[in-house]
């Protein structure tokens, strides 16, 4: 009977993921854009609903329609008008739109932190919390039943919209070829507005339902919705029914059933193990299963190679790149030399309270350089760079603490571990570009974060692992200034490495790969080897940067950063600053580092700023 109960509960929980997944699929189908801001919009609408119900005490019959029919769709209309229509006009490439949605996402997060702070609230119920009792002890909450019915109704309506109505055909036409649709008497702006309103409306509904009677805080809540990515990917971003099935069965029922499986217990035999490993397994299943599904779906489903994969970063990268290249040749070596000298002398001019921010800046510059290497030089989108950095930091701290390896040796070991992670990710992504490459890296990031970093056994849970600062021949780099200079030396080495990636034949091959896979192949390059190489090299740099970040804070702690939000944030920052050049990474890290300076007291930093400086410097 317990299994029936679990299945019923699973179906109800899964329904909401199905709804979220459907919204993502719908947005993609109806706008051609994978909306990374989906979770952020869901969160904003959930907060608005909470505000109206719990703060302003509006009645349900007013607040619910406003949240579901006005706020959510309204956000969609607004986004279409101010963000996506101008992009469309400019003929922006897929990665550019992707970055735009990431930007909107960060904006939503920042807005929520600003208005509602990071305090955990109790989301307002939209349906009564009572439950129905079926024979025996199978119970189903009214709210769960509501979600289930709502999801099914929405699924049927959307399906009818797409296959039975003329507006459905118009939507598909606009996504396919916007200009030609206009020539066919379709008002493309109106259609896009409807599409965005629908997509964001669904996001809002997901948010309100997910928050109904549950904790609500910007950070974790948004993460919940990110789990819906796996549903959308399983549906290959096109099939609404598959999205529903995946949400209900995989995320709902499977997770619910797994929660009761005891890995120490061998089925049908009565044998029971109870040593460390089974505990480890049991604690793993608590981690989110969606990460697992996402990884498996992205790795196994070869058909994804074709869907939406034709996009390239060319427009984005070469534009920023062209400008940068010219700027660099003008200034020659003077500017880097000046910046370098200023960096070395900096500790003499600032006090010890500000120095930690300089330390963070240098460490960030290294990790940002890794993004420049892979996205700027080779045109590959990676959305897990902070996780890679964290992995390097984690391994380095582990071998230092557990095996007593000196820190100076542990740092390259961490870098190599990150390299392995990068190559392991690059391998399944060999044939992918654009959106699905980004999603693959995102999946691996989610996976590593929830199965390694969050795990008590591996990464020390909430307390984290101590990250010692290095020393050499009895000389310690522990003091603020000496650690800072040590960082500068490492940064110099990494920049040198990055420079070498760009020069000579290697640089030309990478540039060819950036512009087009086909072009690169046609000049007789085995793309796979180079792709793996650049994944590895960039991950090495990220891993080393991660080690320094952890050592700066003196602790590796998965809770303080190294997660997907940080990854997305870094990616956006680097793109905006100009991904084509190493200078771009330096500039952006400086502004990010100093940003964490003023935002130290603002709770906003907990979500998107990776490293808060340790006061122990």
């Amino acid at each position: 009977m317990i299994w029936v109960q679990l299945t019923v509960v699973g179906v109800a929980i899964g329904a909401i993921y199905a709804l979220a997944g459907m919204g993502l699929v719908l947005t993609y189908k109806a706008t051609g854009i994978f909306n990374f801001a989906y979770g952020g919009i869901a969160m904003l609408v959930a907060y608005m609903y909470w505000q109206m119900r719990s703060q302003w005490h509006w009645p349900l019959v007013i607040a619910a329609p406003i949240a579901l029919l006005v706020v959510g769709p309204g956000i969609g209309v607004l986004l279409e008008r101010v963000v996506f229509r101008p992009l469309e006009r400019r003929g922006a490439s897929t990665p550019e739109k992707l970055v735009a949605t990431l930007g909107v996402f960060l904006l939503c997060l920042g807005l929520a932190f600003k208005i509602w702070t990071g305090i955990v609230r109790q989301g307002s119920r939209i349906v009564s919390g009572r439950s129905l009792q079926f024979g025996g002890n199978v119970r189903l909450g009214f709210d769960q039943l509501f979600v289930l019915v709502f999801t099914l109704v929405v699924c049927v309506l959307l399906w009818m919209l797409f296959s039975r109505t003329h507006i459905g055909t118009e939507i598909r036409a606009v996504v396919d070829r916007r200009e030609l649709a206009e020539l066919s008497a379709i008002d493309a702006n109106r259609v896009a507005r409807i599409s965005w309103a629908l997509g964001c409306g669904l996001a809002g509904a997901t948010g309100v339902l997910l928050a109904s009677g549950s904790p609500l805080d910007p950070y974790h809540f948004t993460l919940l919705v990110v789990e819906a990515f796996s549903v959308a990917v399983v549906a290959r971003l096109v099939s609404l029914p598959v999205a529903v099935a995946a949400g209900v069965l995989l995320l709902g029922v499977l997770q619910s059933l797994l929660s009761r499986v005891d890995f120490g217990h061998v089925p049908f035999t009565g044998i029971h193990f109870s040593h460390g490993w089974t505990q480890a397994l049991n604690s793993l299943k608590g981690a989110n299963i969606s990460a697992f599904i996402l990884v498996v779906a992205l790795i196994v489903d070869r058909r994804l190679d074709d869907v939406g994969g034709g996009s390239s970063t060319t427009g984005l990268v070469s534009r920023t790149m062209g400008g940068r290249a010219r700027a660099r040749s003008r200034s020659g070596w003077v500017v880097p030399a000046l910046v370098g000298a200023a960096a070395v002398l900096l500790p003499f001019f600032i006090d010890t309270i500000t120095l930690p921010y300089a330390q963070i800046t240098v460490a960030l510059a290294i990790t940002f350089t890794s993004i420049v290497c892979i996205t700027g030089f080779a045109g590959q989108i990676t959305l897990f760079q902070a996780v890679v950095a964290g992995f390097g930091a984690f391994i380095a701290a582990r071998v230092n603490i557990s095996l007593g390896v000196p820190v100076l040796v542990a740092i390259p070991i961490g870098g190599l571990a990150a390299t392995l992670l990068g190559i392991a990710t690059g391998f399944p992504a060999l044939k992918r570009r654009g959106l699905f490459l980004g999603l693959t890296t995102l999946a691996v990031g989610l996976f590593v974060h929830s199965f390694v970093f969050d795990n008590q056994i591996f990464a020390g849970g909430a307390q984290g692992i101590r990250a010692n600062r290095p020393g050499l021949f009895g000389l310690s780099f522990d003091s603020p200034r000496s650690f800072y200079w040590f960082e500068l030396v490492v940064a110099g080495l990494m920049l040198l490495l990055a420079r070498n990636l760009r020069s000579g034949r290697l640089g030309r091959v990478l540039a060819a790969m950036r512009d087009s896979d086909t072009a690169a192949r046609s000049i007789g390059v085995d793309l796979r080897a180079y792709k793996l190489f650049i994944f590895g090299a960039s991950s090495f740099i990220a891993g080393v940067g991660g080690c320094l970040l952890a050592e700066q804070a003196r602790v590796f702690n998965a809770v303080t950063g190294y997660d997907l939000f940080t990854s997305l944030f870094w990616f956006v920052v680097v793109i905006v600053a100009g991904v084509g050049s190493i200078g771009g990474s330096t500039t952006s890290s400086t502004s990010t580092g100093s940003r964490s300076c003023w935002s130290r007291s603002a709770p906003c930093s907990s979500g998107i700023c990776p490293a808060r400086p340790s006061s122990a410097c």
């Binding site: 003329h166 055909t169 118009e170 598909r172 036409a173 396919d176 070829r177 200009e179 030609l180 649709a181 206009e182 020539l183 066919s184 008497a185 379709i186 008002d187 493309a188």
Partner: protein, 233 residues
């Protein structure tokens, strides 16, 4: 002389700082076939796009049946009966053939019957994705979409591009039939000058964004200089 359906007056278009059209005047009489010729980069496609409302002019105006189209967006012009088959393939590759026609024929039931009448091939392939049609079939579909919409002014930009001569003839015949049976007004941009000259009542030649010649096909054929310098012999 029949009334003018389309008048283009002193039209200038620029892409950023590059001027593509410079003070072009052009008239398309109602019920006629007009050919617009010129070398690559002359601005022919730009002119059609400006008429369809896809690119905004920096000066001059476009007048349809006596009414200025200034500020009228592309989709409204299509509603008014201005139909452009753009350069390349004028179809939605990820929609089925039936949906492709559906999009064009939303408000014209009559159109559908005609289309199947003119293009029997498409009837057989209704459920196929348009992107998987052969190049010739795709161009047929593009033409079918345009004819089905029953436009007052049908503009076609290099319909024959990349097609085998046999197919070019089929397309020319279809255009001719559309013109004769439905007395549609047609503005053609063509590289196949012979085809264009056979259909056209009136010919304009553009070069580097300026109108360099206007007249009847026979005059053009007679002028060696013109043929050599603009039509490549």
């Amino acid at each position: 002389m029949p009334a003018a359906l389309l008048e283009v007056e002193d039209l200038s278009v620029a892409y950023g700082r590059i001027s593509a059209l410079d003070g072009v005047d052009l008239v398309v009489p109602d019920g006629s076939v007009v050919a617009l010729l010129g070398p690559n980069g002359a601005g022919k496609s730009t002119l059609l796009k400006a008429v369809a409302g896809l690119v905004p002019p920096i000066a001059g105006r476009v007048v349809l049946a006596g009414e200025s189209l200034e500020g009228v967006p592309a989709h409204c012009r299509a509603d008014l009966g201005v139909c452009l088959i753009p350069e390349g393939r004028g179809i939605f590759p990820s929609l089925t053939v039936a949906d492709n026609l559906d999009v064009a024929l939303s408000s014209h039931d009559e159109g559908m019957r005609r289309v199947v009448d003119y293009f029997p091939v498409l009837g057989e392939r209704r459920a196929q994705l348009a992107g998987t049609l052969s190049g010739g079939e795709q161009q047929m579909l593009a033409l079918a979409r345009a004819v089905g919409a029953q436009p007052r002014l049908l503009m076609a930009d290099e319909l024959s591009l990349g097609l085998a001569p046999l197919l070019v003839r089929t397309i020319a015949e279809t255009l001719e039939r559309v013109h004769e049976e439905e007395s549609r007004t047609i503005l053609l941009v063509e590289q196949y000058a012979t085809l264009a000259l056979r259909l056209a009542d009136l010919v304009y030649i553009l070069n580097r964004g300026r109108l360099v010649w206007a007249g009847e096909p026979d005059e053009l054929r007679a002028s060696k200089v013109l043929v050599e310098s603009y039509l490549g012999g």
